[in-house]
């Protein structure tokens, strides 16, 4: 990135500091950035460090001081059977969610990139599930698949997929499927919006040239389109993985982790530790592990994307 350096020197040689401003460009830049940086330290940095500290402490509910307990909280979380179960469920959930949200998103984007009539309206439609809060997607799907008031049972019954109205969320496997589906309904749109943005930067001449050379649609996809959107694919997959691992909203509103522990994802477990069992130490230990995983996964992605020096981007 050569421009800013050039500009600063240009500004410096050109401009003696104006009247009324005794700050150099460097100082001015710092002053402008400082309020936001201080805010981020206060609302991200300190809470992050505080959570890390809690994870090594026993934190009483009263005003009594917390006591240092070493790695007990981590041992407690990792040694708990429900953690292993929850980890397995979370991995299943994430796999399904990432697959569905990414593949559907890619298909939607490819479809809406075609010169079809009504494409403008369809693109407006595409934004709707994304603009719908995840929690509301959960509410809609919960009642859509409800055996009493829902419409999905009737549709599936009419076309002969099911022989009886089913309380899907009372079934362990169906509950997982539908909590995935509700969240993926929202997220597929997000993926598609990003894929579409990437597809729209693909120069038309390249595709046309491939056509002239007699490439089939599949060959054009494999040879031209897919390589073009691959960086975006990585971004989308990473974001979806993180959202999958951290998914809370749809599960909370649809099943609260049930039936049994069938949909108890790690964030649900975290909620229970903190707010049901009021165990801030153990909850923080779990939170730290989730946070570290999320930060690691996205950092690796940043490096893979060659953005290890974002200022040079």
């Amino acid at each position: 990135m050569t421009t800013p350096r050039r500009e600063t020197t240009a500004a410096r040689t050109k401009a003696p500091p104006q009247a009324g401003s005794r700050l150099s460009d460097r100082q001015f830049g710092l002053v402008l950035a400082l309020p936001a940086i201080i805010s981020l330290v206060l609302v991200v940095g300190i809470p992050g460090i505080q959570t890390l500290i809690y994870s090594f402490q026993r934190v009483p509910l009263s005003d009594d001081p917390a006591t240092f307990v070493g790695t007990d909280n981590y041992g407690k979380v990792l040694g708990d059977e429900s953690f292993v179960e929850s980890l397995v469920v979370t991995l299943q959930y994430t796999a399904g969610y990432v697959l569905l949200a990414t593949v559907l998103g890619l298909l939607f984007a490819l479809l809406l990139d075609q010169p079809l009539r009504g494409r403008g309206i369809a693109r407006a439609l595409l934004i709707i599930p994304w603009a719908t809060p995840v929690i509301i997607a959960g509410v809609m799907w919960k009642w859509l698949i409800d055996p009493q008031v829902g419409g999905l049972n009737a549709v599936l019954f009419e076309i002969g997929v099911i022989e009886d109205y089913k309380p899907f969320l009372a079934d362990r496997e169906w509950a997982l499927v539908f909590t995935i589906l509700a969240a993926a309904w929202h997220q597929a749109s997000f993926s598609a919006l990003l894929f579409l943005a990437s597809l729209q930067t693909l120069p038309n001449e390249i595709v046309e040239a491939a056509k002239v050379d007699g490439a089939t649609a599949w060959q054009r996809f494999r040879g031209v389109v897919f390589p073009w959107i691959r960086p975006m694919l990585l971004v989308v997959v990473i974001i979806n993985v993180i959202y999958g691992v951290l998914q809370f909203d749809t599960v909370w509103v649809m099943t609260q982790g049930g039936p049994g522990d069938a949909t108890t994802l790690l964030p649900i477990l975290l909620y229970r530790q903190l707010f049901i069992f009021s165990d801030i130490g153990a909850g923080s230990a779990l939170a730290v592990m989730l946070g570290v995983v999320a930060v690691l996964v996205s950092s690796i992605a940043l490096i893979l994307l060659g953005r290890d020096d974002p200022l040079a981007a």
Binding site: G48, Q50, V139, W143, V149, V236, W252, P267, A294
Partner: protein, 291 residues
């Protein structure tokens, strides 16, 4: 009309086109079917909502669910939701607007600085923003919970604004920095040459030109804030609309049709916002969020 014989490529192309349009219809169903069900239910009486087979259009449409919520009354079927939903919608709006304002003020200046100036720690600042963007909100809730409790800010809209700033500010800075980077530096320089101070250049020259960037950031932040559930659930007593919708069954004599109407009222603002500012939002999303 004479029958035409079509060559195979033409037939093939037509078949492909037909398939694409069929896919387009399926796509529309995927998006709209849950909404159709939701809106349909919101105009039904509780009795009609449980009809088997379900009615896809209300036979006796009623505004009872909406009027109960808007008038703060007991809804058809006895659901006592009225007061709570309206208040919660108002709180969601207040939290959203305050969060947007805080974001634009803090994020606008910081993004401008990071786009234009180099100073001791400017790289570190930028990395800290990227890092803050990666910290998942759910991972630091324990600290917020204890801190807000000690500050007496549990169940407070200002508490939520503070907390929401933690995950929205990095987005705002990234979106706006990206936008500023795309604006020619000659603009600032011309203003400076004309005798404006650096702050005046930012306020009178850059701010108006960067409006699309600000709109994109504002929309993204408002949408995040409006739909945020986890903090609202854990740090407030159903202050904003998401936890009210999620807690319907536990707290009110339940009926789905009233919840449906409340859900419609809660989903219209963000969807409308996204549709109206579609272009800005999508660009902001692609340029700021994905990076």
């Amino acid at each position: 009309m004479a029958s035409r014989t079509l060559s195979r490529p033409v037939l093939r192309r037509r078949a492909v086109t037909a398939l694409l349009y069929a896919a387009l219809v399926l796509f529309a169903v995927w998006v709209l079917f849950p909404f159709w069900f939701l809106v349909n239910s919101s105009f039904m009486t509780p009795a009609e909502a449980v009809a088997v087979p379900p009615h896809w259009i209300p036979e006796e449409p009623t505004l009872g669910n909406y009027s109960a919520i808007l008038a703060g009354q007991v809804a058809p079927g006895g659901a006592q939701v009225g007061l709570r939903v309206l208040t919660a919608l108002g709180e969601s709006l207040a939290v959203g607007i305050l969060t947007v304002v805080a974001n634009l003020a803090l994020g606008g200046t910081a993004a401008y600085s990071m786009s234009r100036f180099r100073f001791r720690g400017s790289r570190l600042s930028y990395f800290s923003v990227l890092f803050a963007r990666l910290v998942p909100p759910i991972a630091i809730v324990a600290a917020f919970f204890v801190a807000l409790r000690d500050l007496g800010l549990i169940n407070s809209r200002y508490g939520l604004v503070i907390v929401y700033t933690s995950f929205t500010l990095p987005i705002t800075i990234l979106v706006l920095k990206n936008y500023f980077d795309g604006l020619p530096r000659e603009l600032d320089e011309a203003a400076l040459v004309d005798g404006a101070s650096r702050l005046q250049a930012l306020w009178y020259v850059i701010r108006p030109i960067a409006r699309p960037g600000f709109i994109a950031a504002a929309c993204l932040v408002f949408l995040e804030s409006w739909g945020e559930f986890f903090y609202a659930l854990t740090l407030t007593n159903q202050l904003t609309i998401p936890p009210v919708l999620a807690g319907f069954r536990g707290f009110f004599q339940f009926n789905w049709t009233t919840l449906a109407a409340a859900t419609v009222l809660a989903v219209v603002p963000p969807v409308l916002l996204a549709l109206v500012f579609q272009r800005y939002v999508v660009r902001g999303l692609a340029q700021g969020v994905a990076k």
